[in-house]
Amino acid sequence: MKLIHEFPVLIIIIPLIFALIIPLVGRLNRILPWIIASTITFFCFLTSIFLLFTVLDTGKISYWLGGWEPPWGIEYVVDYLNAFVLAVISFIAFIVSLYSGRSVEAEINEDKQLAFYSIYMLFITGLLGIVITGDIFNMYVFLEITSLAGYAMIAMGRKRDALVASYNYLILGTIAATFILIGIGYIYMATGTLNIADLQERLPALFHSKMVLVALAFFTVGLSLKLALFPLHTWLPGAYTYAPSVVSCIMAATATKVGIYAMLRIIFGVFKIEFDIHFIPIANILIVVSSMAIIAGSAVAITQTNLKSMLAYSSVGQIGYIVLGAVLANQTAMTGSIIHILNHALMKGALFMVVGCIVYKTGIEDISGLRGMCKKMPFTMAVFTVAGLSLMGVPLTVGFVSKWYIAIGALNAGMGYLIPVIITGSLLSAVYIWRIIVNIYFPDELPEPELLYTDGGTEITDNDTYSEAPWSMLAPTMVLAVLCIYFGISATAPLSIAEKAAVMLSQ
């Protein structure tokens, strides 16, 4: 058997093994864990790209763990949808690993740094596992791995509030996991199988069963909690705000996206769209809830003074967009939703990384800390501008692409009244982002600058001097910003994959 055929499992196993190896070898050299983490995530990225191309070439890949035939054994399945999500997740994981080196040094206690890298690997393992598995119980297991790793990473924040945030997340995350587990229990009782492909076949006959209805209800609530759908988002702002910047980056860019993947997979893959619409009005409920998320999340973001919590609330709003696109349940909107998984990961990742750079240089997390920074950190601020404009949905950035699809999808679904919701969301995000961009380039009053020296009559002050974050942080951040533009100008490549995934889901 060739190694290539083992890729679906290697992408899980390798980071898992290195999660254990890092604490051992990390004592030898301080930067070794960082190098290992970057190498491994790079490997994951290459593998997922390979899987993506294979899927595009040959269609669905199925891998039987240990050679056990499903439904007895666990099956790993790669199709259009999860190949796409795998690529997004592993790419972001790689970029964040590169970025993490200096940021972790600055923000996490020295004695916890080794633990961080080890847990980080576990976190990635969990994320990739959720996406690649074709077995619903296995999905639950990976979900728990991710969550446990997440609790630990958030608790590593410098402030004591991080512990509270982590504890909050722990409680709510556990409730969510329990709900999901109960849901799994119910459908296992109803169908006698845990394999997703099997479930797809057997469930339609049982759509009238009350047990299946209850299972869907449990899944919906559990998953909504996990992906922080308003009003079940309460754990998210605290977690993103107090976690170390690297952790905020990786969680904002990937963890909720995987939650959304799980939702797409279970609500549309396992259950069918007809079921969601005709048997219980779950789609309608989610449309209302996600519209509320778009408006409320963005509105609350305006009121925040802490940069990270502003971005966190903005995530709540953006998650609303993704869920809205998904539950409109037509091909166009679903394409928008799937492409927004990538787009939002790019822009929110970039924004949180910018915050990390600022914290690294100045230690300030407040919005006012950005005032007049265009001279000090021109590149970081340029990234902020680009990613911010994406968030506003300005054309030629990725934000516009997803918004376009979701809006046209809403019209195709005959729900023109959702257009104002979508538009209001982007106007509100324009308020909180543009306010900051103006402050960066046209500051109202600068904090009393420290006079450094005088150069031929012109006073050179602290505010004018160039003092940019280190390249190991800056370069990955800029890569994301460039992609925000690139995929905004030429979105055809990711769109074609997203479209295939949407077709697959809406069949």
């Binding site: 949905g393 300005v394 054309p395 030629l396 692409v401 376009w404 699809y405 809006a407 046209i408 019209l411 195709n412 023109g416 257009i419 104002p420 538009i423 982007s426 106007l427 324009a430 543009w434 103006v438 380039y441 046209f442 109202d444 905004g488 100008i489 030429s490 979105a491 055809t492 769109l495």
Partner: protein, 482 residues
């Protein structure tokens, strides 16, 4: 199109050497104008140049199509850019403005976006460049970085970006959903898609959204940004708020009327007449407001609001002469108003005066400037032998063709109001005594500023005697509609 963007790079590179940096601006403006003139004969032959740049997503392309209307606008904008570049250099250097590099960069981006609007082949490309203008000019409006500048810039952004996202974007969504295309068509996209059973209500709502969304056209009640944006340095007000920003708004409205809806459809729904009355309202009311402004730039701003509505008025008549008049008014008003703004800037630079009440006798100190000012205001009023007469002539002809005689009264009243707010300024400048303590010694602004404004004045005269190129283009647009 690309020339200014190359210039941006060069401006950044040479930001420390002012002379070199400005020469790039000038060079870019000349090359650009040259390119547009080079394309002119092809267009006059009745051909259309098309080029597709990139497909953003299936159904949405960035695509350019250079037709008569587009080249008409591009020609105006790029010619005036050359003059404005010279004028800007004079202005910012004399006043020793800060952040000059940023200033020239944003200027170059704004002009390339304007040309982008002029040449776009579909509504998506238009929208894209329309937003780009907003973003790039924001920095110009906020240039002074004083609290008032920031306030003005904020209002500017809220109005322009807010309405374009809230209304224009929604309207584009609806258009794409209903017709499946955004490519401009000569008879109008909606007119072509009549067979799909679109309800009247849907069309009326979409049209309303489109008009509300193009707030750059400054039709009431979406005009409030324009007077506030006058905090910008004067060359910015001159070029952007007499030519690039407002005219691109107007241009988009013209495109919407002619190429999205089509005159036949609008006539059938009687939306044209509604739009014409809205425009009339703006014409009268903002002229009355202009009467009461003492700040020269504010008066010019309200005059702009009124004059822009002339263009909308003309195209809303939906008759050949009306459309010709309205297209002609784009260029004629551009020349007239840019001269007036140039004069306001020259007065500010030479005498540091901004209020009309301070202008007593200034004609003796700055004869060139004030003669130019008088001629330009006469052109805007519509007195022959100045350009303004031509557009007004066509507009009146258009009204008669449309059979809405009541609207002639509007034109007459508005013309009287125009005279009321311009002539006192001229009178004061030439016939009143200078305030005590000021000598009658000649004190003009630097030549870099005076020469452009003399040239634009000459332009308004020329437009009366040899309007042929522009008039031909305008007639081609009208002919292309059938």
């Amino acid at each position: 199109m690309v020339t200014p963007l190359c210039a941006v790079a060069l401006i950044i590179i040479f930001s420390n050497k002012p002379n070199l940096r400005e020469s790039w601006t000038i060079l870019a403006s000349l090359i650009k104008f040259g390119l547009i003139v080079f394309m002119l004969p092809t267009i006059l032959d009745g051909k259309v140049i098309e080029c597709a740049i990139v497909t953003v997503l299936p159904g949405l392309d960035i695509k350019f199509k250079i037709d008569a209307l587009g080249i008409f606008f591009a020609l105006t904008a790029s010619f005036l850019w050359i003059l404005t570049s010279f004028y800007s250099i004079g202005y910012v250097r004399t006043l020793n403005e800060h952040a000059q590099t940023r200033y020239f960069i944003c200027f170059a981006v704004a002009i390339s976006a304007t040309i982008g609007v002029a040449f776009s082949a579909n509504m998506f490309t238009t929208y894209l460049f329309y937003e780009m203008i907003t973003f790039s000019t924001y920095a110009l409006v906020a240039h002074k970085e004083t609290p008032e500048a920031r306030q003005g810039a904020k209002a500017y952004f809220v109005f322009l970006f807010g309405t374009s996202v809230a209304f224009l974007l929604s309207a584009i969504f609806l258009t794409y959903y209903a017709t499946g295309t955004l490519d401009f068509s000569n008879q109008g996209i909606f007119n072509d898609a009549r067979g799909k059973g679109l309800s009247d209500i849907f069309l009326i709502v979409t049209f309303g959204l489109f008009i509300a969304g193009t707030s750059k056209a400054a039709m009431m009640p979406f005009h409030a940004w324009l007077p506030r944006a006058m905090v910008a340095p004067t060359p910015v007000s001159a070029f952007l708020h007499a030519v690039a920003v407002v005219k691109s708004g107007i241009f988009v409205v013209v495109k919407i009327v002619l190429h999205l809806f089509g005159i036949n459809l609008l006539a059938e729904l009687r939306l044209g007449i509604v739009l014409a009355y809205c425009a009339s309202f703006t014409m009268i009311v903002s002229s009355v407001i202009a009467l009461r402004q003492d700040n020269l730039k504010a008066r010019l701003a309200y005059s702009t609001v009124a004059q822009l509505s002339y263009v909308i008025f003309g195209v809303a008549l939906l008759t050949p002469s009306g459309i010709t008049g309205s297209i002609m008014h784009i260029v004629i008003h551009a020349f007239g108003k840019i001269t007036l703004f140039f004069c306001a800037g020259a007065i500010y630079v030479a005498a540091h005066k901004t209020k009309i009440s301070e202008l007593d006798g200034i004609g003796r100190k700055m004869p060139f400037t004030m003669v130019a000012f008088s001629l330009a205001s006469l052109s805007i009023i519509g007195v022959p032998p100045l350009g303004g007469f031509i557009s007004k002539w066509y507009l009146i002809k258009g009204v008669i063709e449309a059979g809405e005689i009541a609207l002639i009264a509007v034109l007459v009243v508005s013309t009287i109001l125009n005279a009321c707010y311009f002539l006192p300024v001229v009178y004061k400048a030439f016939f009143k005594e200078l305030p005590q303590g000021e000598t009658t010694e000649r004190k003009e602004a630097p030549a870099l500023m005076v020469v452009p404004l003399v040239l634009t004045t000459a332009g308004t005269l020329l437009l009366f005697f040899v309007p042929s190129i522009f008039l031909d283009l305008a007639k081609m647009v009208v002919a292309g509609l059938n």
